[in-house]
Each structure stands twice: as structure tokens, then as C-alpha cells.
């Protein structure tokens, strides 16, 4: 590691460890999609995509794409045995109705009460929301993958989001480049951190108090 933080692949790997066998999972477009690559050996989660498929698989070989078989990111996918198609009202019924075990999303900011901002930075440009505001409600666990701080060094875990909200009090766990943090009772509760990083240093990179309840584990991931 050139600097003291996990790569995106390593964050995705860590999140994948918490996905149980047979879990129904929605992975947000982009970075969260990497989680599928690190599925734990012997576990077979079922992936949902909000445009209307359950149990899709990885991208087909180049040239083998069928453009009626795409995911919410508009990328070509394949089907696994036991797949199903449905319309978008049923698909978001799956989301809102509490049927997913976990939804994993990206974040611009997460507040200590679980508020999430991940759909736009400000008021400029063309706004686009897609399924983000639906996906943060309903899943049994709503997890976020993110660098611990923004490119400009500003904390992404904050007391209150300054960017436009995607949802209120919706995030339950955050996997960052430095730590694993649960959101419980309106507080950030630290579960794991990189062994090489002190509590003080981690707190200095976090925009709201980190609470400790019980042991803090070591955030340990393989080279990827």
C-alpha cells in the first residue's frame, strides 16, 4: 500500500464478507458493483437490479451482449439459473417492501444519524436521481462504500450533510477506506479500523464523533 488506506477493490472485498449465502442484494451503479467480484467462496447471493431482474450474473464476453439484458447501469449482463424478470413497479416493490437483505450504495456524505447524500453535489447542471432515493428505503441493511475523506481532504462522514439529501436516517453501515462504522441511535459506532491508524488520527479525518462500544476489530483485507 502506497498510502495508509484501502483501495476501492479492498473496500468492496470487505463489504462482500458480510453478504451471507442466499442473501438478496442490490449493488448501486459504479463502485458498489465491484462487490459482486469478491463474493465469498461457497456463498451464492442473488443480485437484484432495479430495471427488473433477479439473479443476473457478470458481463458477457465482448460481442455477446444482448441489449435487452442489461442492469440498472445500462451495462450488459448475463443470467444465472433461477433468474426472473418483472416490471419496474414489482421491482421497486422488492426494494421498498423490505425484501432485499442488503443494498450497497456509494456516498458523497453520510451523516451520523444515517442521512445519505449521494445524488448531486449542488444545484448546477442536469440533476439525475434514478433509483437512489428508493434504494435507501426498505432493504434490511443499507450499506455505503466510500473513501473516508473526499479528494479535497474534507470528511465524508459528517454531523450533517451539506449536499442535497438522498434519504433521511437510512444508512446502517459504512465501509470506508479506513474503517467499518455502524450507525446506531444517531451515532457513528466504530467496528473496525486499520491497525496502523490511531484512534486520534481516524477521528481527525471524521467529521463527527466516533463512538466505541465493545471491541474495535482490525480492518484486515488482502492485497488486491
Amino acid at each position: 500500500m502506497s498510502e495508509l488506506k484501502l483501495t476501492n477493490a479492498q473496500i468492496a472485498w470487505r463489504a462482500a464478507q458480510d453478504i451471507e449465502d442466499g442473501a438478496y442484494v442490490n449493488l448501486g451503479i459504479g463502485f458498489p458493483e465491484m462487490v459482486a467480484q469478491y463474493t465469498v467462496e461457497g456463498r451464492t447471493p442473488v443480485f437484484h437490479t432495479e430495471n427488473g431482474i433477479l439473479n443476473f450474473g457478470p458481463a458477457p464476453a465482448p460481442g455477446e451482449e444482448d441489449w435487452d439484458l442489461i442492469n440498472a447501469g445500462k451495462k450488459a449482463v448475463t443470467l444465472k439459473p433461477g433468474a426472473s424478470f418483472f416490471h419496474q413497479a414489482d421491482s421497486f416493490g422488492i426494494v421498498r417492501g423490505g425484501h432485499l437483505d442488503v443494498a450497497i450504495l456509494g456516498a458523497l456524505q453520510v451523516a451520523q444519524n444515517g442521512d445519505l447524500a449521494n445524488w448531486r453535489v449542488g444545484n448546477k447542471g442536469v440533476p439525475a436521481v434514478g433509483g437512489a432515493m428508493d434504494l435507501v428505503h426498505g432493504a434490511k441493511r443499507v450499506a455505503v462504500l466510500t473513501d473516508h475523506v473526499a479528494k479535497n481532504g474534507a470528511p465524508k462522514l459528517v454531523e450533517e450533510c451539506s449536499f442535497p439529501l438522498t434519504g433521511v436516517a437510512c444508512v446502517t453501515r459504512v465501509y470506508t477506506s479506513l474503517a467499518v462504522i455502524d450507525i446506531e441511535g444517531g451515532k457513528f459506532v466504530l467496528r473496525e479500523k486499520l491497525a496502523e491508524m490511531s484512534m486520534d488520527e481516524l477521528q481527525s479525518l471524521t467529521g463527527a464523533p466516533l463512538h466505541v462500544e465493545g471491541d474495535v476489530g482490525e480492518l484486515s483485507v488482502p492485497e488486491l
Binding site: V46, L54, K80, P81, S84, F86, D90, F92, G97
Partner: protein, 237 residues
């Protein structure tokens, strides 16, 4: 992932006293008779049962009522050719009835499955079945606000299942079953045939497996209407 259970008794063993149980079927079509009779054998009490009807003859839901298992029925049409089991107890004040217009019943169940806590429908506006419910006007017409209807368990009859719980239904036996499968915490399915994953064309799945918890193969299921016409009577073994 394999959602099969070896038998009906295992399937219903988690249904305890006081549970709310949705049971698929409309009239004699689509009733999971074998699951219901397994539930009678298990014998939980104080149940709230949600079905379009309130039992017919001396089998199925009627036999549950006869066995004293049902505290409350939620249904649209408790009358049947032989609704004696329910009628007697209802008129004696021994069983509670929540009467819901059929389309509202279907939509409330669907809403529960889809995470919609409330919606507006024209059905029932201005009638005694909407008494006390919030009303609102949209585009010059009046509507009643109805709430979602959830359950702890759903018992459902399918034609085909795969081991992931993907289902297809047979003809009008479909009725409330896809909705109930969405609305219950635990959905238990009896299917005439249980296939390996891939056995059902993904475009032809009626209920995706995400809504199903347990699948039991019942290869030669009975038909409620045929049993009633034959004068069948079910009692705990």
C-alpha cells in the same frame, strides 16, 4: 440456495398462537388445502386468517374454524355454498370479522408487499365499510384512504416452483397468491412440481423467489371444490 422442506409439518411448524396467516385461493381455486390441513394438525390458536372467503364445507379454512383456531377473519365474502362453520360462530359473537371490499383487499395486500403504507381508492366511499376512514378529494372525486395489510405467514399453492422459490400458478388459481407471497414475513408454498433452478423460463415466472421462504412438493394436490362436492370432512389426525 435450496428452499425445499421435506414435509408439510415442518413447513407450518413455525406458525404459533396469535399469528396472522394469509391463505391463497378464491372459492375452490388455488387453495393450498394440504398446507391448511397440516396447519390444523399443528393446531395453533387465536389466528387471524386473511382469505377472500371464510371457508366452505368442512375442510380447509372452515375446518380451521371448526377446530377453534381462528380468532378473526379478514375477507370480502364470507358467504359460500356451505358457510356454516363461520356463520355459526360469527352470529354467536365467537369470531371477529373485518369485511373488506375485494379490490381493496387485493390492493392492501399488494401495498404491504410493495412498501406502500397507504393509498386512496374510490371503493367504499360513502358506505358503512369506509366509516371512520380518512377521505380525500382528488380531481373532483372522493376517495377513501386504506392501509397496507401485512401478515406473519402466507400459505400459497403453486403449479411449478424451483428450489429458489420462483413460482408459476395454474389458471385462475393465481388470484391472491402472488400478492400474499409479497406481503407476508414468511411465505410457504406447496407446489405440484419442484424443479431445479432454470426449470422455469425467467420470462414466465409469476412470483420471483425473493418473495418465497419455503417450498414443499405436493405432487397430487387436492382441489377444494372437488372435496366439498364429495362431502369431505377434515379433522385433526
Amino acid at each position: 440456495m435450496d428452499k425445499r422442506l421435506p414435509g408439510l409439518a415442518e413447513a407450518v411448524s413455525g406458525i404459533k398462537d396469535g399469528a396472522t396467516v394469509m391463505i391463497g385461493g378464491f372459492g375452490g381455486s388455488g387453495n393450498p388445502i394440504e398446507l391448511v390441513h397440516a396447519l390444523i394438525d399443528a393446531g395453533p390458536k387465536d389466528l387471524t386468517v386473511i382469505n377472500n372467503n371464510a371457508g366452505n364445507g368442512k375442510i380447509g379454512i372452515a375446518a380451521m374454524i371448526e377446530a377453534g383456531m381462528v380468532r378473526k377473519m379478514v375477507c370480502s365474502f364470507p358467504k359460500s355454498s356451505d358457510a356454516q362453520a363461520f356463520n355459526t360462530r360469527y352470529l354467536a359473537g365467537e369470531i371477529e370479522l373485518e369485511l373488506v371490499p375485494q379490490g381493496t383487499l387485493a390492493e392492501r395486500i399488494r401495498a404491504a408487499g410493495a412498501g406502500i403504507p397507504a393509498f386512496y381508492t374510490p371503493a367504499g366511499y360513502g358506505t358503512e365499510l369506509a366509516a371512520g376512514k380518512p377521505v380525500a378529494e382528488f380531481e373532483g372525486k372522493h376517495y377513501v384512504q386504506e392501509r397496507w395489510l401485512k401478515a406473519d405467514f402466507a400459505l400459497v399453492k403453486a403449479e411449478l416452483a424451483d428450489t429458489h422459490g420462483n413460482l408459476t400458478y395454474r389458471m385462475a388459481g393465481r388470484n391472491f397468491s402472488p400478492l400474499m407471497a409479497m406481503a407476508a414475513t414468511t411465505t410457504i408454498v406447496q407446489a405440484t412440481r419442484v424443479l431445479e433452478p432454470g426449470g422455469i423460463d425467467p420470462e414466465q415466472v409469476h412470483t420471483p423467489g425473493i418473495f418465497v421462504n419455503h417450498v414443499i412438493e405436493v405432487t397430487d394436490p387436492q382441489q377444494e371444490e372437488a372435496l366439498i362436492r364429495a362431502g369431505a370432512h377434515y379433522e385433526r389426525a
